[in-house]
């Protein structure tokens, strides 16, 4: 029964990682891309915590959970800076569509 649970958790986290990668390329809204990144980070956290239970040493078992803790912290930092960048983009060019951002470089070079 443990094997079934471990393998199903691993498959779910793999599907979440693949779906998040697809979402980063497929979505055009910037907030939706941040949501996809959050899905990927949560899948990695799930893997860290699940595999840390397989360790025979208590120190190694707590290593996985502490890595997940730092991963949550990195996610918080990333969402803060990402949303700040999105607000800055909205303030300057009034869009959150990532396809419309591809012309920024040429406009700057023209000026």
């Amino acid at each position: 029964m443990d094997q079934i649970l471990i393998i199903s958790t691993f498959l779910v986290s793999l599907i979440m990682i693949a779906a998040g990668l697809v979402g980063i390329i497929y979505r055009r809204n910037l907030v939706a891309i941040l949501i996809s990144i959050e899905v990927i980070l949560n899948a990695i956290n799930l893997d860290f915590i699940m595999f840390s239970r397989l360790k025979s040493n208590l120190n190694q078992a707590i290593d996985g959970q502490i890595f997940a803790l730092f991963n949550i912290l990195i996610a918080a930092v990333e969402i803060t800076v990402g949303l700040a960048i999105i607000f800055a983009i909205r303030n300057t060019i009034q869009t959150s569509d990532i396809d419309k951002l591809s012309t920024i470089k040429e406009e700057i070079e023209d000026n």
Binding site: M1, D2, L5, I6, S8, T9, F10, V12, L14, I15, M16, I17, A18, A19, G20, L21, V22, G23, I25, Y26, R27, V31, A32, L34, I35, E38, V39, N42, N45, L46, I49, M50, S52, R53, L54, S56, L58, N59, A61, I62, Q65, I66, A68, L69, F70, I72, L73, I74, A75, A76, V77, I79, T80, V81, L83, A84, F87, A88, R90, N91
Partner: protein, 176 residues
């Protein structure tokens, strides 16, 4: 037995909700399903014996990050885009690339995972990890022989990283 069934049901819920968060066309529905995926994940962490991380997940993800994302969505001026005729799948050329990249990464990770899982012995150890163990691993420098305080430098760097991110967010988002 009941715990295993609950665990599998929660896993299915996480899978469906995170797929909805990635692929839902309305950004508000995506954000709300992401919040519920976070809450389900914290329940999974509880069942996996990581109580501290379950609480942290509820506070930071389902509390702070969800509010930030919903605030960013609500802050946008309301602009209802006409989706044209509502086809289920309107084709754009980059969709093929997206699904190709996703399936290649999925297959590669699946191969690596099968290799790793065949090497491991899949026996779950039921530790009772308490907050004292976390504090030992993070802060207890005097017990360095027993690997105490081995993450103290990473913890300090994380504090500096949070400070830098707050400064960066204020600097980037402020109006001239």
């Amino acid at each position: 037995m009941l715990a295993e069934i609950l665990y599998l049901a929660l896993l299915l819920g996480v899978l469906v909700l995170s797929l909805a968060a990635v692929f839902s066309r309305e950004i508000f529905k995506a954000a709300v399903s992401l919040v519920f995926a976070f809450i389900f994940l914290s329940a999974i962490y509880l069942l996996l014996g990581a109580e501290f991380l379950a609480v942290i997940q509820l506070i930071i993800y389902a509390g702070a990050i969800a509010i930030l994302i919903l605030f960013a969505i609500m802050h946008t001026p309301a602009r209802i885009e006409k989706l044209g005729d509502t086809k289920i799948f309107d084709y754009k050329p980059h969709y093929i690339n997206a699904f190709l990249v996703g399936s290649i990464i999925f297959l590669a990770l699946l191969g690596i995972g099968i290799l790793i899982l065949s090497e491991l012995n899949l026996n779950v150890n039921n530790y009772k990890l308490s907050l004292v163990d976390f504090a030992n691993a993070l802060f207890n420098i005097k017990d360095i022989q027993n690997y105490g305080g081995r993450f103290v430098l990473v913890f300090e760097l994380a504090g500096i990283l949070i400070l830098a991110s707050v400064i960066a967010a204020i600097t980037v988002a402020k109006k001239e």
